[in-house]
């Protein structure tokens, strides 16, 4: 089977726009949570979220003008803008710029989103009610469609290979990386730009997740402590936004052009819960089978796993995942480290899986596990080291990243150091 490696990274997170700045702040235990600025949250139950910091582009702030022409920005929803910014970073980082038709046709894009242009759809619905259907912009549909991130990236760079998009709620980013890696393994492409993006921090987005009783509501006075995976006082997830995009490449292709190789996608596993539309199966069976399948694909044993980036959303489901991971690892749970970086950046929904896969890549590179912040009083006594409130410098050769989504859709990725 052809091997797939990661040669480019791009991040837009609530900590910063940019890979290194996001990573540094994550390791420092910072939180991206604050009172919502992008709309007046006084009518919704949750008034805080992890928003991408906006600014002039300096000090890790996100400035749309750095990534898209102003006249193009009007034609896309924010989720596409975040996806473009992360994709541009990843492509630049990889140094891959195909110059022949053949190379362009062997380079594809698979970027997904959980919800896509939710706010654009909401605003257009209001516009129709107030002013009638003739006022609907010709850019409404291409601004809101989820696969238009892949479309925009392909148009910008002339990538003419497979052009696809994933929509599996909070598993989107992980599924996109796993599925894109398989396209390379099967020979449909040599290079794939893959990941997820999301921008659902809007009144309709918050109201919708509030109605599902999924969001934290009790920490308006101290939002930075609201996302607290595994902690006894957690009361729901904190919504995040942003994008994580990687450049995946066939190993020999990357070697031949002398590319910087970060890590290898060793395994990928998928499963369905067949249980409930928003809650995970109580025995964690779906997540367990996804992890087991990913390990089997990688040809590894549970004891080979050094670090797990958990789905860990800061909801009741945290302990279900924890139990499933400990069941998988057995005695190896005593030596592995697992953390939930959602404690710092919140839950980026469709972008979560790919952002967290990038954190795994950086954990491998720097031999350090990022912390689970706000973990002051664990709800259960874990066998695993959950890296409470402090990063953990340790050997990491193999990392596993979990993503579980509404509808009972699970994805696990195994990412490891490249062995020659």
């Amino acid at each position: 089977m052809r091997r797939v490696v990661i040669t480019g990274l791009g991040l837009v997170t609530p900590l910063a726009c940019g890979v290194e700045e996001s990573w540094k702040r994550l390791l420092d235990g910072e939180s991206g949570a604050d009172r919502i600025k992008s709309f007046d949250p006084s009518r919704v139950a949750t008034t805080y979220a992890c928003e991408v910091p906006r600014g002039d582009g300096s000090d890790g702030t996100f400035n749309p003008d750095d990534w898209m022409e102003p006249k193009e920005q009007r034609k896309v929803d924010t989720f596409i803008m975040y996806g473009m910014a992360a994709a541009i970073q990843a492509v630049r980082d990889s140094g891959w710029m195909p110059e022949t038709d053949e190379d362009r046709e062997r380079t594809g894009v698979m970027i997904g989103s959980g919800i896509g242009g939710l706010n654009t759809i909401a605003e257009t619905a209001v516009l129709i009610k107030e002013k009638g259907p003739r006022r609907v912009s010709p850019f409404f549909i291409p601004s809101a469609l989820i696969n238009l991130v892949s479309g925009q990236v392909s148009i910008k760079y002339g990538f003419k290979g497979p052009n696809h998009a994933v929509v599996t709620a909070c598993s989107t980013g992980a599924h996109a990386i796993g599925d894109a890696a398989r396209l390379i393994q099967w020979g449909d492409a040599e290079v794939m730009v893959a990941g997820g993006c999301e921008a659902s921090i809007s009144e309709i987005g918050i109201a919708g997740f509030n109605a599902c009783k999924a969001l934290s509501t009790k920490r308006a006075d101290d939002p930075k402590t609201a996302s607290r995976p595994y902690d006894a006082d957690r009361d729901g997830f904190v919504m995040g936004e942003g994008a994580g995009i990687v450049v995946l490449e066939e190993y020999e292709h990357a070697k031949a052009r002398g590319a910087k190789i970060y890590a290898e996608v060793l395994g990928y596993g998928l499963s369905g819960d067949a249980y409930h539309i928003t809650a995970p199966a109580e025995d964690g069976d779906g997540g367990f089978r996804a992890m087991k399948a990913a390990l089997a694909r990688a040809g590894l044993e549970p004891s080979d796993i050094d670090y797990i980036n958990a789905h860990g959303t800061s909801t009741m489901a945290d302990t279900i995942e924890l139990a499933a991971v400990e069941r998988l690892l057995g005695d190896a749970a005593d030596t592995a480290t697992m953390s939930s970086t959602k404690s710092s950046i919140g839950h980026l929904l469709g972008a979560a899986g790919s952002v967290e896969a990038i954190f795994c890549v950086l954990a491998l590179r720097d031999q350090v596990a990022p912390p689970t912040i706000n973990l002051d009083n664990p709800a259960v006594t874990p066998r695993l080291d959950l890296a409470p409130n402090a990063k953990r410098e340790r050997k990491i050769d193999v990392a596993l990243s979990n993503s579980f989504g509404f509808g009972g859709t699970n994805a696990s990725l195994v990412i490891g150091k490249v062995k020659p």
Partner: protein, 77 residues
């Protein structure tokens, strides 16, 4: 230049991101100012909004240049 022409030019400059000097009487939105078919639909909507008029689809198709737009709007008002 008339007030209408100024207002039309402002809309064209904003929507298409072009320099004001390029928006001449005979400048074609698509051939000279870089618009695509969706941009022209949006331009016509912006004219409707700005001038409080309704431009039917068959009339919109005849508005190809800056001059066409100014002429149509003057007659419609």
């Amino acid at each position: 230049m008339s007030d209408i022409a100024d207002r039309v030019k402002k809309i064209v400059v904003e929507h298409l991101g072009v320099e004001e000097e390029k928006v001449t009487e005979s400048a074609s939105f698509i051939d000279d100012l870089g618009a695509d078919s969706l941009d022209t639909v949006e331009l016509v909507m912006a004219f409707e909004e700005e001038f409080g008029i309704e431009i039917p689809d068959d009339a919109a198709e005849t508005i190809q240049t800056f001059g066409d737009a100014v002429k149509y709007i003057k007659e419609a008002q």
